[in-house]
Amino acid sequence: MAIYIKGAGMTKFDVDERSSYERVYECVNEALDSGNVSMREIEAVFVSNCEPETNGERQRHTGPMMSSMFQKKMPIITVPAGCGGGGTALWNAAEFQKKNNMRNILVIGFEKLVANLSENITDEMFMGGERIYEQSEGVIFPAQNALVAQQYMEKYGATEDDLALVALKNHENAFLNPKARFYGKKVTLDMIKKSPVVASPLRLFDCSIPCNGAAATIISRNKTGVELAGSGLSTSKLASFEREDMTSWDSTINAAKIAYQEANISPKEVDIAEVHDAFTPVELISYEDLGFCKKGEGHYLIRQGITKINGKLPVNTSGGLKAKGHPISATGVSQIYELFLQLTGNAKDRQVDNVNYGLAHNTGGAGSITSVHILKRAM
């Protein structure tokens, strides 16, 4: 049974103090309007949110919160999975659709993350790491990814300059995206290379930017111009140091394999990708794990400009987590929003030509849970 993307919406990713309810309402409205759907035609909802303690909302029980907002009794299933929440919610919705053949299912990811002191937000996000070995040893997420990056760079010869090129590319793309945190903001290579070291070798500009935001998409049994051609989900060990090879994320490899099989395509057929660049080295590692190049050659893609917006395989045309912003659970759904725009020809200044297949890669933790979705132009 084919599953289609009927509509998508997202708020601007920013640090505005608007409530979660306002953001969800806005992006759901946009998704409904873009698919010409009324809430009457929505039969189930999958929603992802981290329920942060530090944002002052004190709003757990996300499902019934949505029920109040939508004024509707239906299955509303909450799918928290850290930074991988949005993609995981979509995967669950797709599986649910395969079994239940519903008219329309709404998928939402939202987060109000930036609403407190930065150290408290760091601590809030820190809870996504393993408690005994990582949290107690100061392995905040930048440190966790720095250790991975170091292993990767030592093993394959990637450099800090390669990381800077990833950041630059994604900032250039975000410059064109009105919903990105860094929209219209010029960031230069010099700024990136001179930015302060957060956790060596990672600099400030190697890290994605926490922000607030919400995104929604509607999957449907009715044919539209965009098909959800393949979906894969895989988990791995929570701590990256536990895995045999720290420089390759098996959850990405596994999820991608499933998604490619389901879509019946090879990585070569992907025209555009939204990759989980929570930290710049993750984008390079993911090029390899998604099959866009051989193991250890990720940095050549960025050096050769292949993943730039005008390259052979544009990656993160939205600006990615790096420059569009990373409101945790909203990220995975916002990737679908970007692909939906690209596949329907609505990406305006950042529109890529001849897009037939788009891939979304969304990860929680340092490769602890990963979803890969492949969207296909269905006309």
Binding site: D123, E134, V139, L147, Q151, F241
Partner: protein, 488 residues
């Protein structure tokens, strides 16, 4: 120390204790490495509440089995360096150990890192936990029974079998009830170890600097292993290894110690005691309004061990970024232990790397926001009684009361306080001697329930200028009614 639980047959590795393989149902082997090599390094420059001091390094370690773990350190390492923790060199060293899921291994490692473990096969051992009130182990009020369990297991493995566990609850609380609820009694029963209620123990008298201490004889005759819970303490700042030994004395001695200023008498008590080993229980630990259940669990997941109780407490104070209590300074100046954090040898986890701000205990807070405590170093009975009474009134509004307790009150502490209530005979006498008249006096001899009723009456009636005969009759009637309801 890197630990993994492995199933060789299915090639599975777990970071936490697993009893049997969930695949082949076969046995699990524990793999423990005490040496590792540095394979990765990152310098972190952004602070977080658990790691406020920057920059710090995180090194990635790998052992001979390929098992890895990250380690926070303030030292600089190079890739390829060997990482090994050396044994302590001095008697006053403090071993600081983060528990990596396995309390037994953490304790074993801590004791192995001491410069010597002075308990031998034929020694008679007394383990002194901290059991102050009936509270479950998750509250961190009493010693975590799992430490006791691990310690007894370790001692038995060394063929040390003549072991008793001895303790008494804070004055005013029932020892056996407390031992039972804390889970300590269950561990004693599991290992067939006797629990000695120190309220019923035989005491010997020892004198130091004019104070006569009645000390349980067992503490003189046996080798003592002290297992305090590491806490903040609203009376003396911090309670740990030094303070926990107070309850090896008779209750009357404890009262005398408070009457003569507990911060001065604790060092004197330490003078009279033979040397002992302390294992600081920071498995959970407490911060905020300790040492009773008004304090909050701190979730520290650590152990401290030392033959110098003063140094151990000082390391805890430094770790929690707390103010150094006066009695620890006094202990240091009397040569009873090392109170200079700069010269204490800390082995295991680096002190600078484990520092983060614990909530200090506030001296003037009771359980009720409108009842301010003025603590003239009240003895545990009065302190406990005041805290319990105010806790029962939580939720009631009223006008602020200043509740004075203890016999070490000074004029400065109470002179300009409105609605002053003297709680306990020590405070009543002291306030009288200072020529100040409180609005009410609540004596030691009245029942706890009556004390609560009287306090309630003062709290709720702003115009009240004292406890009247009518109040007293009412509280007696209420108490009588409560007794009938409870079937006496």
């Amino acid at each position: 120390m890197i630990i993994r639980w492995i199933c060789e047959k299915d090639n599975k590795k777990w970071m936490y204790p697993i009893q049997k393989c969930i695949y082949c149902k076969g046995p699990i082997k524990k793999q423990v490495s005490r040496k590792a090599r540095v394979i990765g390094i990152t310098k972190v420059n952004i602070p977080s509440p658990m790691h406020p001091i920057i920059p710090y390094n995180v090194i990635l370690l790998e052992d001979e089995h390929g098992n890895r773990m990250p380690k926070k350190t303030m030292k600089d390492y190079k890739i390829g360096d060997e990482y090994k923790i050396e044994k302590a060199k001095s008697d006053s060293a403090v071993i600081a150990t983060k528990i990596k899921y396995d309390l037994y291994e953490a304790l074993k490692s801590s004791l192995e890192l001491l410069n010597s473990f002075d308990v031998m096969e034929n020694d008679k051992v007394l383990i002194k936990p901290s059991i102050i009130e009936p509270a479950y182990s998750y509250t961190a009020v009493n010693t975590n029974p799992k430490i006791l369990d691990a310690l007894i297991t370790l001692l038995k493995e060394k063929n040390i079998n003549d072991i008793i566990v001895a303790e008494q609850a804070m004055i005013g609380n029932d020892t056996l009830d407390s031992a039972k609820k804390s889970g300590i009694l269950e561990v004693c029963e599991k290992h067939n170890i006797g629990f000695v209620d120190l309220e019923k123990a035989e005491y010997v008298e020892k004198e130091a600097d004019g104070i006569k201490f009645r000390i349980a004889k067992n503490f003189i005759e046996r080798k003592v292993i002290n297992i305090p819970v590491m806490k903040t303490n609203s009376q003396i700042g911090v309670s740990g290894a030094v303070e926990n030994m107070m309850r090896c004395t008779h209750k009357d001695t404890q009262k005398i110690m408070f009457e003569h200023d507990i911060e001065k008498t604790l060092p004197k008590l330490l003078k009279t005691l033979p040397r002992f080993l302390s294992i600081g229980d920071a498995t959970i630990g407490m911060h905020g309004q300790g040492p009773t259940s008004l304090g909050e669990p701190a979730f520290l997941n650590m152990l401290f061990a030392s033959k110098d109780p003063v140094a151990l407490d000082v390391v805890f104070v430094e770790m929690g970024m707390l103010e150094m209590p006066q009695y620890l300074k006094e202990c240091g100046s009397l040569g009873l232990g090392n109170c200079n954090e700069k010269t204490i040898e800390v082995v295991g986890d680096e002190l600078e790397a484990i520092k983060f701000a614990l909530k200090p205990a506030k001296k003037n807070e009771s359980a009720h926001p409108k009842i301010k405590l003025i603590d003239g170093k009240a003895n545990p009975y009065i302190f406990n009684s005041a805290i319990k009474a105010t806790a029962k009134l939580v939720g009631l509004s009223g006008q602020e009361i200043n509740l004075a307790i203890g016999s070490q009150l000074t004029k400065d502490m109470i002179a300009d306080k409105n609605r002053l209530v003297a709680y306990g005979n020590g405070a009543i006498e002291k306030i009288k001697s200072l020529g100040i008249t409180p609005i009410a006096e609540i004596t030691d001899d009245i029942d706890d329930l009556e004390k609560i009723i009287l306090l309630k009456s003062i709290l709720e009636n702003p115009e009240k200028e004292g406890i009247t005969v009518v109040d007293k009759i009412k509280s007696k009637i209420f108490k009588f009614g409560a007794k009938i309801k409870n079937g006496f």
